[in-house]
Every structure is written in C-alpha cells, then in structure tokens.
Amino acid sequence: MKPIEIAKYLAPVLLAVIVMVTCKRDYSKPGREYAPDMAHSKAYETYTKVKDNTAFEDGYTALEPAKGSIARGQKVYHGDDTPEGYTLATASDENPLALTDEALARGKEVYSIYCTPCHGPKGDGEGTAVLGSNYNLAAPPINFTAPTGEWTSGRIFHVINYGKGNMGAYASQIAYDDRWRLVHYVKSLNNANTATTADGSQTASK
C-alpha cells in the first residue's frame, strides 16, 4: 500500500478523533448561559457574595444572627457555658418532653445524623469516623451502653449544647426540642438497649 493510500484511510480517523477530542468542555467553569438576567437574582441570595453590596460588610449576605435574636420556633437554653453552669444543669435540669415512642424515634433519627460519626451507630463509642480514619483520638468517644448512672438529662443536654472536652457544640445544628428528644434516646442506649416509655411498656430500640 502506497503512503498516499494509507493517508487516505487515516484522514477520516484523524478527523473523527479531532472532532471528538476538541469539543471537550472545561468542567471547572459553569458553562455558558442564556438570558442571565432571568437566572440571577436581583435580591441577595443566602450564600451569594454580592459585588458592591453596601448593605452588608464585605458584601457577604450570610451573616451571623444579630446578638440576642432567637430564630423562629427555637427556644433559649438558660444554662451557662461555664463549669458552674454545667454543675447546675447536671444537678437540676429535667427533660421537659415526655418520654414517648415518637420522641425516641425522632431522637434516634437525630442521633443517627449527628452522633454516629463519633459515638457509633450502637452508641458504643465505635464511631464510623473514628474507625474509618485511623486517627488516634486524644480520648475515645464516650460509650453510651456502659453504665451512665450519674448522667442526668440536664448534663447530657448541657454537653449537646456547648460540647465538652473534644466534643463540639451542637446547638447550631440540632433544634432545641430535638436536643431534648436526643437526650431521651441517649439515655435509652444504656440499659441493654431498651427503653421504657411513659406508659411503662418496653420498646426495643434497634
């Protein structure tokens, strides 16, 4: 076969390859837009940084809540983030929500989202994030299935609110009432993984 013959057959191959390869999109860019006026909000959206936004400092629209403001549907926790507040909460705070199956179910749901990375799906301190990373923690997460006699509801609630030791504060992620439901669930993890509901019946919590 003459070189010209080979070239003849190679030409379409090359053409096809060039077409396939050069039409690649740059995925680090969002791509072209049609009618951007309709797509982009004139109003400030939650997380957009608005250029020339003089209403807010630095142009950021996501701001911290004003001091002393309470979000709708939320309640204020009276406990202080101090050792005294902790002692006081441990000694005196009671769970304002009744221990019901619904409360436990919601508590479990909250637990499975916010607590399993460290305390584990079973509450035994074998957290998914602790096991998944081979990171050596300064102190292992608390095992809820071990006896928790001196763990009053008030103490658990205070720790969820403000954190303790290596644990961070969860008040910004978990709604006030859900925190108390979570307290119910955490307490239920003790005592052979069963909990007693208000009417005295035993509910197995998986």
Partner: protein
C-alpha cells in the same frame, strides 16, 4: 463503476468510524447512571436496602428477561399474570408481599435501558472506581472508554483494510483474465471531489451540526458536570464515603429550610479541633479552617485573629425564577440526597450530577409516588387521596396528581 464503488466504500468506512467512535465515547448512557436514577433510591446491587438486593433477584428470576421487564415496569401486572397461572410469574406472586412499601412503576424503561441496568447490577462497577458496597475495589478507567469496543473497532479497521486490499487484487485479476486494459487509477483529488461523496458528507455534517446545536443550546446555563476547584480541597468521598458522616451532619438545614446550607466553620471544627491532618498526613488544607476561624493549634483555643471566611463555589444553581425547597423534598417527600445529587459519597471533587432542567424536575414529579405511610405531611394534607389509596380505589398517587406539575408551584 469502480470509482463509485471506491467512493462509496470510503464513505461507508468514514461514517462507520464516526458512528463507532461516538459509540465508544457515548458509553456514558450506562446501566450505572440508569440504576442511580431509577433504582438507587431503594435498591443496592449486592445488599438489602429499602428494597431487596438485586443480584440475588437476578438469579431468582432465572434470567427470564421478558418476565423481569414486566415486573420492573408494572409489578402489579406481573402478579396478576402469576395468579392467573402463568408459570413465568410464579416468582412475582412469591415476592409481592415481601415488604410493606410497594415498588414504583417504571413504564418508561425500555428493553435496552433495563438490559443496561441488569448488566450493571450483575457487575456493579461505579465510574468513580470501586464496586459499590463490596470489599473489592477495582480501579476503572476514569475516561469511561470501553476497551472492548475499542478492540472491536481496531479489529474492524484491520479487517476492512485487508478486504479492501483483497478486492483491489481480485479486480486486477479479473481485468487480467479478460485481457482488458487496466483502468486509469482514480486520483485522490477526483475521489474527494466526487459529487455523491461530497453530498453525503455535507448531509452528515449538517445532521451532526444540527444535533450538536440542539444539545448545546439545551445545555446553556445548565452546567451539568460542573466541578470547580474549591478554596479547600474538601473530599466528599472521604467524609461522606469512608467516614460515613451523614449528609445532614454538615448540611443540617436541608430538612427544615429552603437551602441545604453550606456548613459554617464551627461544624468543621467539631472534628478538626482534633484532626489536624488528612489521611496522608497532609495539613495544608485543614490549616485553612484554622486560619479562617482563628484557632490556635498551640494553645488549642480561638485566640488568633479570624481570617476571611471561606468562599465556596456554589455548584447547584437554579435560575431565579424557579422556587425550590430542600425541606419539601427531604422532609415531606423523603427523597434521598443522591436522587438529585448523585453518588456524592464517591466524589473526590463534587460535581453537578443532574442537569437540573425543567424536564428533569417534571419527569421525577410524574414518576414519583407520594409516600403516605408514616408521613404526617401528605397523609394529613391529602386525606381524600390517602383514603382512596388505602381503600384500593387508587393504586398510587404521584406528585403530579397532587399538583406537582402546576406552574405556580415552582414559578411565581
């Protein structure tokens, strides 16, 4: 005659190559994606989930594809046929009441799509690498090129070259046998300027350009596949995949708000107060959190001046004239995050998975059945529908039935 034949052959060869190569690159219409879109919310290939594991299911149906098509598209019909005595659907009768939550209907999945899904289930390899849920992780070519097809293509190429050569020789022999003089070899220029070839090529080019015009115009402003480099090289694969941290741990307002929320730095610090290095001992990325929050790794306190907040690049954007609420979909609808956002737990760099087009929204609203069980929102809001479903008057209620296609629901 010879000229025409050759031109035709040449043309055929070119179009075959273009078609085949597009087939190689277009392999993305794969079972994995279809599985994620249609089945992944309830099924896993190798493990029980909301629905049963699908690999054993494939075995249990003895590979009777026709029967499986019927089951997937409309399991109720399969059960009816089974109860009517059709031996192929005995399995349908057997499994119909395995679980309280009934399976969706998928009338839009044609044979080819279902075959692709079945094939993926039999060999569940995810494009990002790794077998879903399994122990073994087999690295997969990132480009998604199907090497089998490439091999077949190469073979065809070689074969066609050989055949061309043979036919050329045979022609020559025929001329020699008949004693005819050999025709003048047609020049390359004449071949290319052949009218029929040019006409056909123009037609092909016109079709191709028209098609890409349509595709690209439809994709304007959709930014599917957008995967920008973020200010911190945060890996969802590590956090949501390996460490199994729930999506809502960080995106904690997804269940209660319109916005799923970009986590604030204090949420990072819940863990990174302790975890100062990544899995490879790399500290540079995590140091950016400390810089932004003013965390001092020496004194373990926030006693430094906080830096500028991290400006994450928003990936999923809906136009201003579309209303979308995460709370509605997550809390009321009970939709898995992955249904829209794809397998985030496998993404090293977060990518926009769905095209977020209106057609995409509408399709889902048409196909998704309203889940009334354990769902105060729908069971209380649509009492009549719930009652009819309970009484068996209606088989199911889709989002469309309760007004999910009303213009004003999303555009106002």
């Amino acid at each position: 005659m010879v000229t025409k034949n050759k031109a035709f052959r040449y043309l055929l060869f070119f179009s075959a190559f273009l078609l085949l190569s597009s087939a190689v690159f277009a392999q993305e219409l794969d079972g994995y994606k279809l599985f994620q879109q249609n089945c992944g919310a309830c099924h896993k290939a190798d493990a029980d989930y909301t629905g049963p594991a699908l690999q054993p299911a494939l075995d249990n149906w003895d590979g009777d594809k026709e029967a499986m098509y019927t089951w997937v598209r409309n399991w109720g019909q399969a059960v009816e046929l089974g109860e009517g005595g059709d031996p192929r659907f005995a399995r349908a009768v057997e499994v119909q009441d395995y679980d309280a939550s009934a399976m969706n209907l998928f009338p839009t999945l044609d044979d080819a799509k279902l075959d692709a899904i079945f094939a993926w289930v039999a060999n569940p390899v995810t494009p990002g690498g790794g077998v879903s849920g399994g122990e073994v992780t087999a690295p997969v070519a990132q480009t998604g090129i199907n090497w089998l097809l490439v091999g077949v293509l190469a073979l065809l190429l070689i074969l066609s070259l050989i055949l061309a050569r043979i036919s050329q020789n045979v022609e020559k022999l025929i001329y020699e046998r008949d004693g005819d003089p050999l025709p003048e070899p047609v020049s390359l220029k004449d071949r290319i300027l052949n009218k029929k070839l040019l006409g056909f090529l123009s037609l092909l080019a016109f079709g191709f350009l028209g098609y890409s015009l349509y595709v690209n115009a439809a994709n304007l402003g959709r930014s599917q596949g957008y995967a920008p480099e973020q200010p911190i090289a945060f890996s969802h694969k590590l956090h949501a995949g390996t460490l199994e941290i729930n999506c809502q741990y960080c995106h904690s307002s997804a269940a209660v708000s319109k916005s799923a929320s970009i986590p604030s730095m204090n949420i990072c610090m819940n863990c990174h107060k302790q975890v100062e290095a990544g899995p490879t001992g790399e500290t540079q990325q995590i140091a950016k959190i400390y810089e932004a929050t003013g965390w001092n790794t020496e004194t373990l306190a926030y006693d430094l001046e906080p830096g500028a907040p991290i400006e994450w690049d928003r990936i999923h954007n809906l136009p201003d004239h579309v209303f979308f609420s995460h709370a509605q979909h997550v809390s009321a609808g009970g939709i898995e995050c992955q249904t829209c956002h794809g397998p985030v737990e496998e993404m090293e760099v977060l990518t926009q998975y769905s095209n977020l087009s209106m057609g995409w929204c509408i399709n889902c609203h048409r196909e998704t059945k309203v889940q009334f069980e354990d769902n105060a929102y729908y069971a209380d809001t649509f009492k009549e529908y719930h009652k009819n479903v309970k009484d068996g008057k209606l088989d199911f209620v889709t989002v469309e039935t309760i007004g999910g296609l009303e213009c004003q629901k999303c555009h106002y």
